[in-house]
């Protein structure tokens, strides 16, 4: 596993081992906040930040922490970073922080983060752990935004509403009203809509995989089995 290439790490993070679509981790925030694209983006960025910081830290201390206390140490590291990110968001993106509410602190319990610390960062050098955290986080964030955009479009008939909460008043123009006088479609906004949307995304991913020439998955069979168990 130590000779895994950067290319392979990135491909895992974005596609073959995508946190949301393949590992199906971090469902609680994924399903709860993706009622709009901007909410998804906000939580996605916060998750990337925490994941990169925790992966790098865990990788740095991997030879120093004894195996029997590694889990509590990882949890401490992750919880500290999440609290710091929460405070920073409250300070710099106050409105978005209020919308995301409880789901920022809940990043602590996102299994994807502890999962990457345990399965990757604790066994790999800093550079690779950094790239792993970044690509896994990006893979997760992209799904958050896509799912958010889908639900927002169907549910409210807009895209990127409330962009000003994140980028300031100057960003109001990003908001697109796709359907004028749209009455709304409640199912898309409620939790069932999130499950249906995620199911559709997973189905699309599997469909693309089936049609693609089979090269990617054969390259590193050991990693695939290891990840599937984790």
């Amino acid at each position: 596993m130590s000779e895994i290439s950067y290319q392979q790490i990135s491909r895992d993070g974005f596609w073959t081992n995508n946190v949301a679509l393949v590992q199906i981790l971090g469902l609680c925030p994924l399903l709860a906040v993706t009622s709009t694209a901007i909410n998804g983006l906000g939580l996605g960025l916060a998750t990337i930040l925490v994941l990169v910081c925790s992966n790098v830290t865990v990788s740095l201390i991997r030879n120093f922490v004894r195996p029997e206390i590694r889990i509590p140490v990882f949890v401490l590291v992750i919880a500290s970073f999440v609290t710091a990110v929460e405070l920073a968001m409250n300070a710099f993106f106050h409105d978005l922080y209020k919308v995301l509410g409880i789901f920022i602190p809940l990043i602590v319990t996102n299994c994807a983060i502890l999962g990457r610390a345990e399965a990757f960062a604790s066994k790999n050098p800093v550079g690779k752990s950094f790239v792993d955290g970044l690509t896994m986080g990006l893979g997760f964030a992209v799904i958050l935004v896509i799912l958010g955009a889908m639900r927002e479009l169907i549910g409210f008939g807009t895209l990127f509403a409330q962009a000003h909460m994140m980028f300031g008043e100057a960003a109001r123009w990003i908001t697109i009203t796709v359907f004028e006088d749209y009455k709304g479609f409640l199912l898309a906004i409620l939790p069932p809509g999130a499950f249906i949307g995620l199911g559709l995304l997973i189905a699309v991913k599997n469909l693309i995989d089936q049609r693609a020439p089979k090269t990617v998955n054969q390259e590193n069979p050991t990693l695939q089995t290891a990840e599937a168990e984790g």
Binding site: V77, S80, L87, N90, A91, H94, D95, L190
Partner: protein, 213 residues
């Protein structure tokens, strides 16, 4: 020292070290962001207050001129309720009462109820709620103009029998598919008005604690 003890002590020390470093990181971030967060909260509240009472209508620091009162029956909250007072040249202009509707569809709905000195409503805003998206969230000023329907109302307009949603025989609209949410808000606004009527003079008195249950 025997081996298990040694391992325990070393493990505990490493864990302790990480606790100190982690707490240090959080403490530093807190120190660094504390002022900005307080300022953000002040600005957010000021924005809401100024949607109800225009900045030109008062000349005092409305954010600082507040008292805290307790009245669970009429103000809907077991905790202290803040009342912000707007004054012009020392004369009372209006009070904004941060009351709550405890009986929303999904828990408490937090409100700001602005009442002019003469007892008419200057405006109502919903600060925080957990109502169903797409159904109950029409109470937000950003989603519909329903909440504007309170402007200019008072205890006499309509009389007490009219302070209900139309479905219950009152004068206020409900939403399609959501009656509980507007019903809770109408009731809370009505109760806040009653509280104001009972305590008006005391509320504007300088620095007097208003305690009542």
């Amino acid at each position: 020292m025997s081996m298990p003890w040694r391992n325990m002590v070393i493990g505990a020390m490493i864990l302790g070290l990480f606790s100190v470093v982690g707490t240090g990181l959080v403490a530093l971030t807190y120190e660094g962001t504390m002022e900005r967060i307080a300022e953000n909260e002040r600005q957010a509240l000021l924005r809401s207050l100024h949607q109800i009472i225009s900045p030109e209508a008062h000349d005092n620091d409305i954010y600082a001129d507040l008292i805290t009162v307790h009245n669970k029956a009429l103000l809907g909250s077991r905790d202290g309720v803040n009342i912000y007072r707007a004054r012009m040249s020392g004369q009372p202009v209006a009070a904004v009462i941060a009351s709550a509707a405890p009986d929303g569809y999904n828990g408490t709905i937090k409100l700001l109820v602005g009442i002019n000195y003469d007892g008419t409503l200057a405006g109502v805003r919903v600060i925080n709620h957990h109502e169903t998206p797409g159904l109950g969230d029409g109470i937000e000023a950003e989603r519909s103009d329903w909440v504007q329907g309170f402007n200019g109302r008072s205890l006499l307009n309509p009389e007490s029998a009219g302070w209900k949603v139309k479905k219950d025989g009152g004068q206020f609209d409900q939403f399609t598919g959501a009656t509980i949410t507007p019903r809770a808000v109408v009731k809370a606004v009505y109760n806040t008005l009653r509280y104001y009527q009972q305590h008006r003079e005391a509320l504007f008195a300088d620095g007097v604690e208003v305690e009542n249950e």
